[in-house]
Amino acid sequence: MADSRIALRAQLERQVAHWCVAASALSDLTQFASNAAWLGLEQYLGATLRGSLSQSILRLERQAGLVRAQLHAAESAAELRQLQLAIVRLRRHYLAVEAILDFYGDAINTRTNPKLNAYLSACDKLACASMKAVLGPLGQQAPPVLTYVDKGLGASILKAGLMLWDGRSKSSVAAIKIVRHNLQRPTSLLHEAGHQIAHIVGFTEELAEALRTELGEYDHEVAALWAGWASEVAADAFAFAHSGYASVAALHDVLSADRSSVLNVQALDPHPASYLRVLLGREMCRTFFGAGPWDAMARAWLELFPLSAAPSSTVDVLRASTPLLTEVVEVVFRARYKAFKGRSLVEILDPERVKPDSLFELERRAGKALFVSSHWIERECLRLLALSGYRIATEPERARELASEQENWMLRLGEQAKAA
């Protein structure tokens, strides 16, 4: 009996020692991203992230220390067997912390060269500026943003303030994935940052309720669907209010897929049907800007994706929703919300600023300096994105030239952001 207890203790001791050593080794963050990559981050972002990751590792090390102490204290075979469970929990905790470190390490490591680093720093700055524009007037702080690049079609966000994989740490920065093909059209950043804004001020829940109530006057079933789409509708609205038609055109190009995808409505999917989402974007443009290239875009969209091609399971919802889009825009932009301290979204972030005429006026005011002057780039970076995006959307024959111009001012913005 004593022999088996000794043998059991020996196995446990080895495992505990192993996980303790492994946990300690995590504290070298350059295992996950090179020192140069860490140093490439804007100072405040880097410090915030390092601080929160170190806290996660510290918690893991504390747990490892606790298990080690328990092992020392354990005397009976039962206590030792109980300890096996503690080791399993420690191992699970280790893997979760490792996943956190891997995630952020991979994100930081996508800044593979100084140019991409500067470009992604500019993305950080744009996303942050878009949040500050809304959160500032509401007396709220915008979290730091870490943008990283990845493959795929669409962007995503790991919001700041969410619980991470270890169930103990909260994410300290908003980590936004931007897909490679959209690096030169990064309006999706604003959509993702919109999710963060909505999370901080609690807009999604209020909007869902408002959509349920207002659209419910027309169709309860459709209203319930739109309420479920509130988070994505809100994010689209923020992106539109910041960048106008640029965000709508970019969204169109991402959603433009085969008919079955576009005309599909999936239960529990937080995204509205692609068919409706593009038309909602056009409705936003029409409501705030009047007639414009978005009308032709919508006509082409309807031609490519006629409701007659929709499956019978979704056609009624799509047909019922289409005439309600004007109402959706009204609810989103003009209704007043507690999340906005009793104001409407349009009162906080008026899309008038990114109306094409306003953007052309900005271009006239600043002249050639607009895309090269640090003053304009710093002060008007969001409207530069809107203007570049508008040009890219409406002048495809200049795509290469416009992409180059966009890249150049973004690089300047990134360099400025790093210097700041």
């Binding site: 005011r365 002249g367 300096a369 090269v372 002057s373 002060r379 210097a419």
Partner: protein, 812 residues
Amino acid sequence: MIDQTFRAESPFIDTDLPRVQGEDAYRAIAQAESPFLNEYEAAFDDESPDATADALAEIYSELYDEEFEEATQDLVDELTEVAPALWNSELSDPRHLAQTEYVLREALSPIQSAAEAYLDEAETRLSAVDERSLSPERAFEIMNEVEPSLAVSNPVFEQFLGKLIKKVKKVAKGAVKLAKKGVTALASPLLKPLLAKLKSFVKPLLERVLQFALNKIPAQYRPLAQKLASKLQGKVASALGAAKSGDSARSAATNQQTLSEPDVSALGGSEPSDADSALADEPAAPELGDVQEELDQQLLELLVTRDSEFMFESSEDAVRYEFEDHPGVDVERARQKFVRELDEHIERGDSAAPALENFLPAVLMAVRTGIKLIGRPKVVSFLGGLLAKLIAPLIGKHAAPALGQMIADVGLRTVIQAEVGPHEQRTSLTNAVAATVEETARNLAQLPERVFESPELFELYAMEAFDHAAAANFPSQLLKPDVREFEGAGTWLSLPLHGRKLYKKFSRVFDVAIPPEVAASLPTFGGSSLAGFLRDRLRLPHGDAIAARVHLFEAIPNTRLSLIARAEKLRGLSGRGAWAKFHPLTPKAASVLLRAPKLGRELPGGADPLRPTLGQRYYYLEIPDAPLRALGADSKLHVTANLAKGEVRICAHLSEALAQKASEMLRKGAAPSAIVRELRSALGPNARALTSGKAGKKLRIIVGPRGLVSLPGLGGKLQKSLRGSLRQTLASTAIEWFWLALSQNLAANAQAFIAASEGPEDGVRVCVSFSNVPSLSGLKSAIVKGTLLNVAWPPKQMPAANVTLHAGAKHG
């Protein structure tokens, strides 16, 4: 509760000051001979025009580069980063000091190698051309074609190297110019030997910077003017005297070596003992400006003594120094000793007079005017006795613990944000007492000598100085209401807590919201306003109130603003140029920002953040929304009047925000007058500084070779006042012309301004020059002689203007 034996004269509440009685009148002693030259003495009274001196004066004037000092400061800061222990200890261990010196010298070696390689390459290229046909401009061009190459990637090193090479190019250009004018022989080769000699300047210059970083100064330090008088040849001396006499940028360093004596017209006046003004020109640390000043003079000397007339065996000998600790280091050592002795005194309960007798001379030795008091042992002894009695109740065995706790609670605990033990409490008290004694003595040293002749008068001023010093070192709760600087919890602390004290910080940090109109009303360094700083350097949106935390600091011996930045580790105070983010805490700033005007100190004219003066106070705004580093350069306005040549030149750097604003208005078709009104408003504080005698380096008046002759019947002060008034009149006219010329230029060629603003460069530099300005010779004569103006000024019509526009902030 404090010892009830205190009496009413003490600045402390419920205190009882023992009276000083029965002191004999002081023995009259001969006035101490000042080792310093008067500002204008270096000039000559040679009335005849002199082309050589004119030419040298012009080169000397051109050699000056305001940004050189900033580059040197940044290099010093970089060295501090290389050897962080530099400021954490006294470096009293010779081995440690030697090691540090070695590390720093190694760190600097890439600059030396790069500069020498540059000079070698330039020499090779210039050897290939016939120098007889070489124009100054072509020589400059050839040297511009050589790219300096640093073996390490370091932007601070690159900046310094760039500035050094810029100077070298100017020297080469000047050499050709002198030869063409026949001042020196037009020999061929002309530049080769010059460049070879210039190489020998590099190492000593870097050594000077290194020693500066170590807080050391050249041994047997003597004012430059005095050294020059004995060393320089006539023409160079004449040129230097001429160039410096009206040039506030050039005279900044020498001005500070001028012994000025405040005028005491009535008892009870606050002038003589008022810390606001008394220490206004007492440098807190070795002055960076001297490095450039000395280098330029040596380079100028080199230009005329290249051949057979060398005063020195080699150029390197001419620029080599032995170094010794800056007096501030000695004061620090003496203070530490005094604090230890006070601590022992508390234990023993005997008199602190012996400790004071040791401490006071060290304090007085470290200030220029201290010699007046040191030369009067009886006065020093009297002061020691008085101070011993004044501080006795504070360091009594029974009162000390309670006082220490109170000071620690208000001050230390807020800094370290933790409970403070009995030892730290006592240290807080002894440090506060030491600082009070030190500042009292230092302020008294500024008094005019006749105060020292009368014990009654001296006692009166000593008491007043002690009041001021106590108010600046003890919490308000301990002070009488009329003495307090601040109503509320807060006190000044000498920091860092451990090791060498580098500055004082007010324990309380103020949360404020600064409306735009308040920011616009507060002057900061360089003639700019706080609003300009927020707009141009931090690029914060105009029109919004700025939420900020205000941190307050005071300069003590050894203070440099970059060291405060490094020690404080506040958001936004890291990296190169952090020293430029401090602002002068004037009574007005203290009033509108903190509602505590007594916390402020008057800003002396020409105050320079690179040259903190003892007792000067500063504030730093910690702004959550601000970028960590400055994003752009300030808007600036410079006026240079070369009276000898009849030229006036005004240059403005319009920050990127201002340049874009002006361009935007031009594109909209706004009237030039409207644009100029906008720019004038933004640069208003800069213009006001120029026309009110507070421009410092921004106003440069070169009067030419003729000297400054005292006129019978006119006292020095009146002459100085007249000169000041004339300089301001000239500046005022020049600025008016500048705006008028700019307005005309915008009307005639708006596109040129727009084009200059369209690149990625930081702002637009506008230079307007006027040649053959009428009546300038009359103005020159009046400035030189310090007399009333006897010509019509300003001229009825603006002279023809030449306007040039450049993209970016840097000098061309």
